[in-house]
Symmetry: C2
Subunit: 217 residues, 2 copies
DNA sequence: TTGCAAATATTAACACTGTTAACTATGTTT
DNA sequence: AAACATAGTTAACAGTGTTAATATTTGCAA
């Protein structure tokens, strides 16, 4: 049975090479420039070969999304050793924002683009039990941290999961407003007398942290 | 000179008809389905005629964005008569969220899609003084309301503009997480024991309001 | 009224896109 | 060696935004 396994491995290998080529293109040139034909020519195969390994373009994009979630979760896991829960929460926020800037394309893939979701809906007709678990895990990590904060005297009286959702919303809102040009624009219109767009994001986040810090009984 | 003016009017009229056709398509079928050729056939003109009235597709999308901002600002203006500033803030948040649900396509156009921004950047090489003023005006309305809240004893000690940005971030974050399927997904994974996706958004917003309400000295 | 030029609209084409059907090699199994 | 499944290919379909060249309509001066 060694031969069959070797072929299996070869097939899995090509599937990965397609994904790697797609990732390279996607991170460098963005979604629109990542065409099936370009991916194919990058790995020196015919365009239609791609369809032997992925259902369609959304399938590839969905696979990339999963990689993105894994990457973010790795970054989060590195913060597990931060003992102080509030410090850990701060670090998570900073990591999240940084991720949205450094891995902008990944971030859009994971949290704003519709294609991965479309793929999920196309593959399973009804509300089946499927993926996106990496994303849920990342959120769980936030929930646990907020719970730890509560035990340390922060945010008492608030529903933990609800509060987590609101924290996520704020940081996600900051990320997206920033990367879609709204924060820069607000600054340019002299609404906020401060440094350039990148630093106002920093300032806004620090403001938020200071704000949360006061919520200690 | 009456003739020239009549032609001007006719030209402006066709420009508007193009935009109306585009809006109809866009709101009903979404961005991808709104092709130049479909717009053209809707108004029974040749596709290339569009280019006599709009620079490119992004130009049309940008024009639609301005309509969206105007629409939202109208909704906000209707709240000017709410005397109590905190009640006004609540109403603004509700209006904003409702807008993101009812006019989802508009919302994406205004706050998440990259095309309108791309058009702005293509039309003016450097940081010229240009549009997006309707959006800035909407934000100004929020800033004024927050300022009024502060005078009523809320949010004391916080920088008004910074605080406004954070409030905007939170509500914008809720809107986008909701409309990109993340809130629904979190609910489905039983992270929050509550009603369906639509109602959890409501619950999260109410949570947020209750939270802000406590920040009164 | 006729001739001309400017404004307006059209056809044809380019260079792409995702995706499918039909076909051809290749290597394994009987 | 013959039959067969697998893997990959070419060709094609139905679209996309956009531009150049061409045609048509229109307003105005001679």
């Amino acid at each position: 049975m060694g031969i069959k396994e070797r072929k299996e491995r070869h097939k899995e290998d090509l599937r990965q090479r397609i994904l790697d080529a797609a990732k390279l293109l996607f991170l460098k040139e963005g979604y629109d420039a990542t065409s099936i034909r370009k991916i194919a020519s990058a790995i020196e195969f015919s365009p239609t070969t791609i369809y032997l390994y992925y259902k369609d373009k959304n399938d590839i994009i969905y696979a990339l999304q999963k990689e993105g979630f894994k990457l973010l979760r790795t970054k989060f896991s590195a913060l597990s050793n931060v003992e102080n829960p509030f410090e850990r929460l701060k670090a998570m926020g900073r990591t999240y924002l940084q991720f949205s800037i450094e891995s902008r394309e990944f971030y859009e893939l994971m949290f704003v683009m519709k294609e991965p979701l479309e793929f999920l809906q196309s593959i399973c007709g009804e509300g089946e039990d499927e993926q996106w678990d990496e994303g849920v895990e990342a959120f769980n990590f936030l929930v646990r941290t907020i719970a730890d904060c509560q035990q340390a005297g922060y945010f008492v009286g608030h529903d933990i999961k609800m509060f987590s959702l609101l924290v996520w919303s704020t940081v996600h809102g900051l990320s997206t407003l920033n990367m879609h040009g709204h924060i820069t624009h607000v600054v340019e219109k002299h609404l906020i007398e401060l440094q350039d767009g990148g630093q106002i994001l920093e300032a806004a986040f620090n403001s938020y942290i200071k704000f949360l810090e006061q919520l200690k009984s």
